[in-house]
C-alpha cells in the first residue's frame, strides 16, 4: 500500500480503478469521439496518447500530470459529466490547470455532480501508480494505492 497526500479541489471519499497517462491529457482529443458518437462509455480517442488510446475512461480514476489542448476542455468535462460517461475521480500529479479546473467546477456548481479531484500529488505519484491499480481517495486529499 502506498499513500500520497495532495490538495483536494473537489473533495470526496471514493474508490476506483486507475487509468494512467504519464503525459498531458488532451481533454478534447480524448473525449471528442465518444461525445460525437453519443457513446455510453467514454473510450479515449486521442491517438497521440499511447498510454490511454482506446482505453475506457468512464467511471475510472484518471491519473494525469495536467490537461492540455483546446480551451474548450472545461466544456468537454461538463458535457461528459452530463452524459454520465466521465471519470469517477481525477488525480493530478502537478497543480491543476485552468481548463480542467473550470470543467470540474462547472460540473459541481451547474450540474450538481462531483468529480472528486485532488492535485499536487507529486511526480512520484505518477511513477507509482499503475493502470488497473485500486485507488482509494479520502476527503482530505489522501490517496491510497492498494
Amino acid at each position: 500500500m502506498t499513500i500520497f497526500k495532495g490538495r483536494p479541489i473537489i473533495p470526496g471519499n471514493v474508490k476506483g480503478q486507475a487509468v494512467v497517462s504519464k503525459k498531458g491529457f488532451n481533454t478534447l482529443a480524448s473525449f471528442q469521439k465518444s461525445i460525437i458518437m453519443r457513446a455510453r462509455k467514454a473510450i479515449c480517442s486521442d491517438q497521440d496518447n499511447t498510454d490511454l488510446y482506446k482505453k475506457v475512461l468512464t467511471d475510472k480514476v484518471l491519473c494525469i500530470p495536467q490537461t492540455i489542448g483546446s480551451t474548450t476542455g472545461g466544456l468537454v468535462i461538463l458535457t461528459i459529466s452530463k452524459m454520465n460517461i466521465g471519470p469517477r475521480a481525477i488525480l493530478f500529479s502537478e497543480k491543476i490547470d485552468s481548463l480542467a479546473a473550470a470543467g470540474i467546477i462547472l460540473t459541481d456548481v451547474w450540474l450538481n455532480k462531483r468529480i472528486v479531484t485532488v492535485d499536487s500529488l507529486g511526480k512520484d505519484f505518477l511513477e507509482s501508480i499503475k493502470e488497473g491499480s485500486e485507488v482509494e481517495i479520502k476527503e482530505d486529499g489522501t490517496v491510497i494505492i492498494e
Binding site: G24, I36, I68, T71, T72, G74, L75, G103
Partner: protein, 420 residues
C-alpha cells in the same frame, strides 16, 4: 479569497440563486489557483465557443439560464468563427448532411450569443484583435478571454492580461465583469521561466518556431532572444502576423499563454531580462532543431502519397496583409492558369469585407481558385468525413488538431502552382 461586501452577499444568495452560482463558480476557480481577490475586467470579452453543436447541451443550458434572467456580458463580445460556410466551401452531399447534423443548433446558438451581448453579426473570428475587427484591448487591461491563440496574442503582443480560460468559465467571468486575480493577471505570473535563445541562419518559419517552443516549455512563459535581430524591433503589420502565427503554434503544441520577445514585445521592451525568474532554464534553437521539429510531424493520411484535394490557409484567421501576401506570391508564380487544387483562405468577416473593396484584386484571387471564407478550418476538419481527405495547410495549429498535412509557405506555393 478576500471578497468585497457585495461579492459576499452575492455568494450568500442575496441577489438570487443564479448570481450565486455565477460567483460561486468564479470564486472556486480563483481559489484553485490561490487568487487573493476578484478584479474588475476592463477589456471586451472574446469567447471560444461559437458552434451550435447539440452535443454541448449543458453549456447551452447555462447560457439559457443566464439569458432568461436578462443578464448580459459586461461589454459586447466577439467569438470564434462559425463552423459552416456552404456559400464559399465546396461540401459534398454527405458532408452537407453531416454538418447540418453536427451543427444543427447553430441558429439557436447564434440567437443565444446575440442575447448574451454579441458585438454584431460579423464578430465571428479567432483574430478579434485585428484593426478591421476592433476588439483590441489595451496594454495592462484585465481580460477573461478563452481561445488559446487570442489569449497568447493579447498577453504577448498587446501586453493585456488574461488567463487561458476555458469555455464556460469565460462567460461567467464576463457576465460578472470580474476575474480572479492569479496567473497572467499578476506581475509575478508574467515572469519567464525559460530563456529561449535563437541561433539560426535565417528568419525561422513562425509555425515551426512556435511549435518548438510549445513542445519544450509546455505551459511556461518563455523569454525569447535573437528574434528581434531577425524580424525587427517594431510591431509592424508583418511582425504582428509573424507573432500571431508563432504564438498560435506555441499554444497548440504546448499550452503557452504568454511569451516575451527581447527588444520587441511591450513588456520585454520595458523590463528586459528582469522578466526572467531566478533559476530559469535555457533552450537553444538552431536550424537543426527546427528541421527536427518539421521532420517529427506525422503524416496522418491513409495514403501518404495521396494528391491533396484542398488547401486551408488562415488558422488562426489570416490578416489583410497575409491575404495580400498570398495574392501577390500566387500571382507572381501562376501567370494565367488556375491553382492545382482549391485554396481556402480563412479570415475574419470584417477583413474579407475590407479586402473585397479592392474589387479587381478580389476578382483576380477568385478566378485563380482561391475562396475567402470565415469558417474555422478546425471545425471543418473535425469530423469522420473530412478527416479522411488529404488536406494541406501552412498552419501548425490545424495540423495539430486534425489530419491536415503541414507545409511551409514556400512549399505550398510550389504545390499550388504546379500545374499537371
Amino acid at each position: 479569497m478576500r471578497l468585497e461586501k457585495d461579492e459576499i452577499e452575492m455568494l450568500e444568495g442575496k441577489r438570487g440563486p443564479l448570481w450565486q452560482k455565477i460567483i460561486k463558480s468564479v470564486v472556486m476557480y480563483g481559489e484553485a489557483f490561490g487568487a487573493e481577490k476578484l478584479v474588475p475586467l476592463d477589456g471586451a470579452p472574446h469567447f471560444v465557443t461559437s458552434f451550435g453543436a447539440s452535443m454541448i447541451k449543458p453549456y447551452f443550458e447555462i447560457l439559457d439560464e443566464i439569458i432568461q434572467n436578462g443578464i448580459k456580458t459586461f461589454k459586447p463580445f466577439t467569438v470564434d468563427p462559425r463552423p459552416f460556410d456552404p456559400q464559399n466551401i465546396n461540401y459534398s452531399f454527405l458532408e452537407k448532411i453531416l454538418f447540418n447534423f453536427i451543427y444543427g443548433k447553430q441558429e439557436k446558438c447564434e440567437e443565444q450569443l446575440k442575447k448574451l451581448g454579441l458585438l454584431d453579426d460579423k464578430a465571428f473570428t479567432c483574430t478579434c484583435y485585428l484593426d478591421e475587427v476592433g476588439n483590441i484591448p489595451k496594454k495592462g487591461q484585465y481580460l477573461a478571454w478563452s481561445e488559446s491563440s487570442a489569449v497568447v496574442y493579447a498577453n504577448s503582443v498587446i501586453g493585456a492580461r488574461t488567463n487561458r480560460n476555458s469555455a464556460g468559465i469565460d462567460v461567467l467571468c464576463n457576465v460578472l465583469g470580474k476575474a480572479p486575480y492569479f496567473g497572467f493577471l499578476t506581475d509575478e505570473g508574467r515572469k519567464a521561466s525559460w530563456l529561449v535563445e535563437l541561433k539560426v541562419s535565417k528568419v525561422p518559419n513562425p509555425q515551426l518556431l512556435g511549435s518548438a517552443i510549445g513542445l519544450k516549455v509546455i505551459e511556461d512563459v518563455p523569454y525569447i532572444v535573437g528574434l528581434s535581430e531577425l524580424i525587427g524591433n517594431e510591431l509592424t503589420k508583418e511582425v504582428k502576423d509573424y507573432l500571431k502565427d508563432m504564438g498560435a503554434a506555441a499554444a497548440s503544441n504546448g499550452a503557452v499563454g504568454l511569451y516575451h520577445v527581447e527588444g520587441l514585445t511591450p513588456e520585454a521592451k520595458e523590463y528586459g531580462k528582469s522578466l526572467l525568474k531566478e533559476n530559469y532554464r535555457v533552450y537553444v534553437i538552431d536550424d537543426d532543431e527546427l528541421q527536427k521539429i518539421y521532420n517529427s510531424y506525422p503524416v496522418l493520411w491513409k495514403n501518404k502519397e495521396a494528391k491533396p484535394v484542398a488547401c486551408f490557409i488562415g488558422c488562426p484567421h489570416a490578416s489583410l496583409n497575409q491575404i495580400h501576401w498570398w495574392y501577390e506570391n500566387l500571382t507572381a508564380r501562376l501567370k494565367k492558369q488556375k491553382l492545382s487544387i482549391p485554396v481556402y483562405i480563412c479570415a475574419a468577416p470584417d477583413v474579407i469585407d475590407t479586402f473585397k473593396k479592392e474589387i479587381k484584386t478580389f476578382e483576380a484571387l477568385n478566378s485563380m481558385g482561391v475562396k475567402l471564407t470565415s469558417i474555422c478550418p478546425l471545425m471543418y476538419m473535425n469530423n469522420p468525413l473530412c478527416a479522411k481527405k488529404p488536406i494541406i495547410t501552412n498552419s501548425n495549429k490545424l495540423r495539430t488538431y486534425s489530419t491536415a498535412r503541414f507545409y511551409t509557405d514556400e512549399e505550398l506555393l510550389d504545390i499550388l502552382t504546379k500545374i499537371e
